[in-house]
Chain length 711, copies 2
């Protein structure tokens, strides 16, 4: 089966119809291909981000979602709302465990500060504006400064006096193109329905990334706005938002062979990285990450097991960490399963041959390869130190102190010259995070994790070691003493103290004897020169990567799509199984019957009311005739990745037939190299969503709003 893959990789153009996270604007030029694959919508219409269906697609910032009613009802994944459910939980109510169904609109629950739904208003090509002032001979550090300033200026101009608008300059093709994306921020988001965890993530970590799958990974939100229709903070006076577009539901769902597409916001892929980057990821980056992450999860899980309060606070983090651990592991397995690296090497050699076959190409692209190598050498040399420090900054109170210190440090500069993430526009977001920390903070596990990580810091090789941190810890009497000092009734455990920190000046923070602030200062003393190096590197990359990718694009005859970068993309394919192993075929649909057959102990503790309803699921109006039951999940050939979670799965007419929520285990290495034979996306079937609402939850008013009221 790897033969097919090899062919796909060696051919300079996209060999598989399934591969591709296309920009909306690329769709019209692919109209013939899309029609051949089964699209019945007009490709021009499909390419319009404000039209139907793309105009219905929104982002929650970390997940995708879509409007599914004229009154602002939004469909997304259950796992995308688990942070909201945690916010809505307290000692009496565990919304993650029990789920939630609003009795009526009046009962819908605000999901808390900092949550927002973003709707794209406008996408503009701003490449010329971003590179304005850059010349061929501009030095790399200056190049980075100019490009960065231009971007920040564009964003500042875009957001000026428009508090409800968030703007972003997205970079494509490694910095060869830029687009300014304007998004409306709808900030009064409320929970309408979420199934219990035992439905929403049925099978838990055992089934995560796996097939067969029976997850009811869906939830409904609603966006509220001021009575005049404008975006507004949460208020009792707000009214449901009337989106200009919403998706129609196709209650026939998706069946084997059917054309389907997904529109959403995939986060990041590494398809244009070089073979040596893949080798380093395989041999160092992922193994190192996996080892440390496993230890941290074990610490958190130990606390969660011992104390229900810890469990409530940590379960969302544990879930995310487990998920990302399995992702890393799947990536490694994927790398070792087939000749992924060999294929990448072969593809790169084919590119080199193409470059060297023509003296003009050799002149234009040749030098970039050598320089990319030098930069990669340096990246690899410094990796471990940066990785450990990255984990250290996941400790809640250190993150709080570090954020305050960095904000104060940048505050002296004019806003546009500040580092990204530490401008005035970011303050509110930081403040909301300081508040939300109140729900997830658990000092005992943070303490254990801190011991682990500081010990790792102390053991780092000389050249990667954050010396100021090592000195501070040593001055405090070693790791145990340092952690004892940090955890001796820390002031920052109080939300007010954290919020107050954000308002302190650089001078005040520089003199603070709060140990967390001291540790943050020490960390920054080490990372400040690294940041300067990173900017230099970024400036180099702005020269090199576009050249590299330009060579790839030209070699392919311009039949490529850019790496995922968190912007709206469309991927097309069909419903199809795959061969997980010689002698097995993953059939592309599962059923309620199969769900019930798996029921048992946690994490397969399907709710009693669902199991009861399952006994008559075959008689439901949502039954599939071929399966003789209600379909639960299905597989497709679609090209998706993290960030696509919650994306609408659409049929050939752009109607909603499901929600994507996962990839198969074999799909993870697709972030580096797409394998059409093994890569599959996993979706929840709209018929399972409707069946659950109707037969398990009796949520008739939601079915009404979805336009599928009981006959």
């Amino acid at each position: 089966m790897w033969t097919a893959l090899l062919a796909a990789v060696l051919a300079p153009s996209i060999a598989s119809a399934d591969e591709g996270m296309w920009l909306p604007e690329q769709l019209p030029q692919r109209a013939v291909e899309l029609r051949r694959l089964g699209l019945t919508l007009d490709a021009d219409a499909l390419g319009d981000p404000k039209g139907q269906p793309l105009g219905s697609i929104v982002t929650l910032g970390f997940c995708s979602a879509s409007f599914v009613s004229p009154d602002g009802l939004i469909a997304t994944n259950h796992h995308c709302v688990s942070g909201y459910l945690q916010y809505l939980s307290d000692a009496e109510n565990d919304r993650n465990r029990d789920g939630f169904l609003a009795a009526s609109r009046a009962d819908e629950q605000w999901v808390g500060p900092g949550s927002e739904v973003q709707v794209v208003d406008k996408i503009t090509d701003v490449t010329l504006e971003v590179v304005k002032g850059v010349r061929r001979r501009t030095r790399d550090r200056t190049r980075e400064r100019i490009v960065s300033l231009n971007q920040k200026t564009l964003v500042a101009d875009c957001e000026r006096d428009r508090p409800d608008v968030r703007c972003q300059v997205a970079s494509y093709w490694g910095g060869a193109e830029y687009r300014l994306i304007e998004k409306r921020r709808l900030r009064d988001v409320r929970l309408v329905y979420a199934p219990p965890e035992s439905v929403g993530s049925y099978g838990g970590e055992i089934d995560n990334w796996m097939w067969p799958r029976h997850s009811g990974d869906f939830a409904f939100l609603r966006v509220y706005v001021a009575p005049d229709g404008s975006a507004a903070e949460h208020s009792a006076d707000n009214v449901p938002y009337q989106p200009p577009r919403h998706l129609e539901i196709n209650p026939e769902g998706a069946n084997p062979g059917d054309f389907v597409m997904v529109a959403g916001y995939p986060g990041s892929t590494y398809r244009f990285r070089r073979a040596r980057d893949l080798r380093f990821a395989r041999d160092v980056r992922y193994p190192f990450r996996i080892e440390l992450q496993r230890q941290i999860i074990d610490i958190l899980q130990g606390h969660a097991d011992a104390d229900p309060e810890a469990k409530a606070r940590l379960s969302s983090s544990i879930g995310q960490l487990e998920n990302s651990l399995k992702y890393s592991q799947g990536m490694l397995d994927g790398f070792s399963k087939g000749p992924v690296l060999a294929d990448k090497v072969a593809a790169e050699e084919s590119l080199m041959d193409w470059v060297e076959a023509d003296p003009r190409r050799a002149r234009r692209y040749g030098p970039a390869f050598a320089e990319l190598d030098q930069i990669a050498d340096e990246d690899e040399r410094l990796y471990r130190g940066e990785a450990v420090v990255g984990w250290l900054l996941q400790i809640d109170l250190l993150r709080a102190a570090y954020t305050a210190w960095r904000l104060a440090g940048e505050a002296d500069k004019p806003d546009l010259l500040r580092d990204r993430g530490y401008q005035d526009r970011d303050r509110e977001r930081h403040a909301r995070r300081m508040e939300r920390m109140d729900k997830s903070l658990w000092l005992p596990s943070d303490r254990d994790a801190l011991v682990l990580l500081l010990n790792r810091v102390m053991e780092l090789p000389e050249e990667q070691r954050p010396t100021p941190v090592v000195e501070l810890v040593t001055a405090w009497g070693g790791v145990e003493a340092a952690v004892a000092k940090l955890h001796d009734q820390p002031a920052l455990a109080q939300t007010e103290a954290r919020l107050a920190l954000l308002d302190q000046s650089r001078d005040a923070l520089a003199e603070s004897d709060d140990p967390w602030v001291q540790l943050a200062r020490a960390l920054d003393a080490w990372s400040a020169p690294l940041r300067a190096r990173d900017k230099q590197r970024a400036g180099s990359m702005l020269r090199l990567r576009p050249a590299y990718i330009e060579a790839l694009r030209k070699q392919s005859g311009d039949d490529l799509y850019p790496d995922a970068n968190g912007t709206l993309r469309v991927t097309v394919g069909n419903v199809k199984g795959y061969e997980p192993a010689d002698g097995l075929w993953a059939t592309p649909q599962t059923t309620v019957r199969g769900l019930a057959a798996k029921a048992g102990d946690w994490p397969f503790d399907a709710p009693e009311r669902l199991l009861e309803a399952s006994q008559t699921s075959a008689d439901s109006r949502w039954v599939d005739a071929d399966l003789g039951d209600v379909p639960v999940n299905f597989l497709t050939t679609l090209d998706t990745t993290g960030g696509n979670s919650g994306s609408a799965t659409l049929d050939s007419q752009g109607r909603l037939v499901g929600l994507i929520f996962d990839g198969n285990y074999e799909a993870m290495s697709a972030d580096w190299l797409f394998n059409p034979v093994l890569t599959r996306s996993i979706h929840v079937d709209i018929r399972y969503i409707l069946w659950t609402l109707e037969s398990v939850e009796e949520a008739d008013w939601v079915l009404d709003e979805l336009g599928v009221a009981a006959p």
Copy 2:
């Protein structure tokens, strides 16, 4: 999917074409059905046990096999010859680990004393002879005595002055019918080829009973006879046997949908047991067995891990125990997976309704049900004690002593009145076993197992406890002291001492102070009255079970086959996958490519030479066009069970297309209740056998003999 099963069970006739271990004589009357299923051979010919192909089918006593050349070459499973391989191993040569290929016929290795290939010469219905003298009012104990004496007389008459013939009276339909089976004993059996364990049981216990599967579970033996063609003991003067029939090979193999059949010697099934028997098996018998067996395996494995010599001696036993443990576990899982018990209850209720619907039927069959219940009550009451003692008798030296004591005890009686297994005709077999024990005996593990089992004996509830054993152990000072005494340089550890024991008189043994003999006497003091009770019970069953089964047969319109009883049967079906879980389809073939993809650490340590050959398997002449590779294993719907191992898998013309070696995990509960949806047999494809011989082993002379010499 259980719907289909329910229907199959409730219908009084055989609902599935696949179910049935048919007697050869039943095949002609099923000719229309067989032709419909795809048989092209004449059903009359197929029903002739001396004709083609059944005339080529033989038994090794515990496994099935078949002649595949005019020179007495025999094909069977690798796992059927592992005892032989152990016999052929010593400190330098581990034949199980390394396999064996004779360089030429002269190099073929005798597999040791006690091994024999049995060829059926004649099958005669002897029902009238067996029940001769039994009258309606004959008391049960007498009935057993008469039937037993009649059987032994038939066997004695049959074997008189024919040392090369072994006769057996087999009971069918729970004792309603009997057949005398005469078999020629071909005792010079030699090993021609066995692959290494890493091919023959690739995947070891992990893959055992599982799909996907990639086992090269095949081996070749050859039978030698005296130069005049008569059966003879092993001798250098012997010559290859010329069987009257041998199977032709079909190198096209078997492909999805193809008609296939298996002819062999299935051991036992329990399809006519009652619902309460199934319930007891599920709730007590299998769980009790699993618990004890797990402990014993752990003991043996501990010794095997610690000492290579122990490993060589114990690995065959461990393999068998693990296999049977997984069987028991699969049985239990099968019982709990679907409504097996419920279906059995429903079928039994339907039978009761049928009986009660007619006063004559009610009079004829009604009382049997009540009496069967009483007997089952008693069986269940005594089960645990008998089970523990059964395990105790697996301890090598105790078995030796007990066998000698029992033989001596029976020796006073006329031969025909002796208990079965302790007649003159059995002496030779016992002697061979005493000899073979030399290869498997390992005192340290026997010692630990003995401690475990004697402790279990001491803990048995009063009414199940073997009091004489308890008293002896107590007199010796408790379990630890007793075991120390038994293991203080035991005389029976010497083969000569064990053989000498067989010749001792009852009186001599009664006075022996060998502690093993003392323990054997104590055991027998307890079991003698139980044997009497068993004979009484057997006499009752001779009345009751035929009545019960007669009712079932009449209700079904006589479309039934008898339970497996170790006699020749034929099962027909086709190559077909199944659904192991919702969302998965087990495709019915695996490939060399898939085998290589699984290769890694033990038990997936495929030999280097096989992995090398696998790189060009797609170019082999044994390639399957659809798969693009050499097929390794395949699934069929055939109805098989233990004892079928090594059976020839035949195509519609009776040609060899593979060897059955296993059932899927879901098939185990089929021994109680056949489920056509889930039950599958697993075969090794003839093309994998031929490819291995040709491309891995370069065993050209074997290919020549199989009639598929390289072109």
